[in-house]
């Protein structure tokens, strides 16, 4: 399968990238890892007449901690976070999510920001970034703006990005306590999209209560879903069995999965309950 013909640009700066987007508008697509875009182009689901390859924009490379946030640049690949030992203690959800994505060659190439911009409700990073209360950093002709992850996902395959903007980074608040996380996923075969995925991020205070918690659900609605009621229930409470059971029931109520070839809505909702319960039990044990 061969993609449609297109003009290829390989800018080396963000400004140059934005200028190309302003010039070509909706005809253009940004190419980072290309692990969703190129397959879509080969199937002619996507047929951009201009491809802007940002792989040579050095400012979009790498991750760093600054001003109370972990800033993950747009060219950071799934495998970079999966294998980064320096991040595993403070941001455990990153490697735990990354290892579930597709397979090694795809993780070597695909990017975190690319996955977010693609905005597939069944993506693993969507749920994880919801759980981490991330912001997406966006650059356009009028400068830089930041959008909370919940507002970034507008609809299936639709984000808050304007036509002449790029997602330059995703920013994760640095935890101010002991963090533990789980990414729970059930898939039909290795590397597949989630039947249901649950991202859990918990920060514990010194007195044993929950200081911060995030629960993101994958494949449970039109966009990645925040289990908000479950989060609110957990905040300030100790992570005991009764609290966990109630949180799993609340999260289940907030999931709105569709019946499809991967399973019935009823089945998927029950999976959410089981995953929230199991994941929080493991986290409670780890943070004991």
């Amino acid at each position: 399968m061969i993609p449609n013909a297109f003009d290829y640009f390989s800018p080396t700066s963000v400004d140059e990238t934005i200028a190309l987007l302003q010039k070509h508008g909706y005809d253009a697509k940004i190419l980072a890892g290309g692990q969703s875009l190129l397959p879509m182009m080969k199937l002619r689901v996507a047929m951009p007449s201009v491809l802007i390859d940002i792989n040579h924009v050095d400012d979009l490379r790498g991750w760093r901690e600054e001003n109370g946030y972990l800033r993950i640049g747009a060219l950071t690949r799934h495998a970079d976070l999966e294998n980064e030992r320096n991040l595993m203690d403070r941001y455990p959800l990153l490697s735990k999510t990354a290892e579930w994505i597709a397979d090694v060659p795809v993780r070597n190439r695909g990017t975190i920001c690319g996955s977010l911009v693609h905005a597939d409700p069944g993506s693993d990073w969507g749920a994880a970034m919801i759980a981490l209360h991330a912001d997406v950093e966006i650059i356009g002709p009028s400068g830089v703006r930041r959008v909370f992850i919940d507002d970034f996902f507008v609809d299936t395959f639709t984000t808050a990005l304007e036509v002449d903007e790029i997602a330059s980074a995703v920013l994760i608040p640095s935890p101010i306590g002991r963090a533990a996380a789980r990414y729970m996923k059930l898939e039909r075969k290795a590397g597949d999209f989630a039947i249901v995925g649950v991202a859990l991020h918990v920060v514990k205070a010194n007195d044993g209560t929950i200081l911060d918690v995030g629960i993101g659900l994958s494949a449970c609605g039109d966009v990645p879903v925040r289990a908000k009621k479950a989060e609110e229930w957990l905040l300030g409470r100790p992570l005991d069995q009764e609290t966990i059971n109630q949180a799993s029931l609340l999260a289940q109520e907030e999931a709105n999965p569709a019946t499809d070839l991967r399973g019935s809505a009823e089945y998927k909702k029950d999976l959410v309950r089981v995953f929230v319960k199991r994941g929080l039990e493991e986290i409670a044990e780890e943070l004991r």
């Binding site: 061969i2 013909a5 290829y8 390989s10 290309g34 397959p39 390859d53 090694v104 060659p105």
Partner: protein
């Protein structure tokens, strides 16, 4: 578009259409037919090559993205007529039947052993989960990768020693 790519240590300069996929560039422009086109949908891994040392599915990378980069294909593993330890191990452990998946399987294993020289069976199975074999199953493939890992580890310690290292512990 004019590109300059180093493939298996040799520099190639070519004029390609931007939409040319790397696997077709390798196979049809350079006549390096080691990387196979299997599913053509980023699933099967038969087209896996190393791009700057990282395994990638070459059906899902554009040839223009390899401009200025280094590619290693299965053809580049042999040294002076001597097969690479992974190639030898696939032979010795009978890790293939039809052989269609083998070049991709070997290239993925090549990166895996670079990162993790003595992987456990589970680590190998996870590592090759993006490479599909539809005839032998994976038992002998896993054996071959582990056996090649031991040979490579021994070579690193003593380049003249070809014998296997038996890992302690399990």
């Amino acid at each position: 578009m004019q590109i300059r790519v180093t493939v298996n240590g040799r520099v190639y300069e070519s004029d390609v259409e931007p939409r040319t996929l790397l696997v077709y560039y390798l196979r049809e422009h350079l006549r390096l037919t080691g990387a196979h086109v299997g599913c053509d949908t980023t699933t099967c891994g038969a087209c896996t090559v190393l791009l700057n040392g990282k395994a990638v599915k070459s059906c899902t990378v554009l040839a223009v993205q390899a401009n200025g980069q280094e590619i290693l294909t299965v053809e580049g593993l042999e040294r002076d007529g001597e097969l690479h330890p992974l190639q030898k191990a696939f032979w010795e452990e009978h890790a293939l039947q039809c052989g269609y998946c083998t070049p991709g399987m070997i290239m993925t294993a090549c990166e895996l052993l670079e990162r993790n020289p003595l992987p456990t069976e589970e680590e190998v199975r996870k590592g090759i989960s993006g490479n599909v074999c539809r005839c032998t199953g994976y038992v002998n493939i896993v054996k071959a990768i582990q056996s090649a890992g031991r040979v490579l580890a021994a070579q690193k310690m003593d380049p003249h020693n070809q014998s296997e290292v038996v890992p302690s512990g399990n």
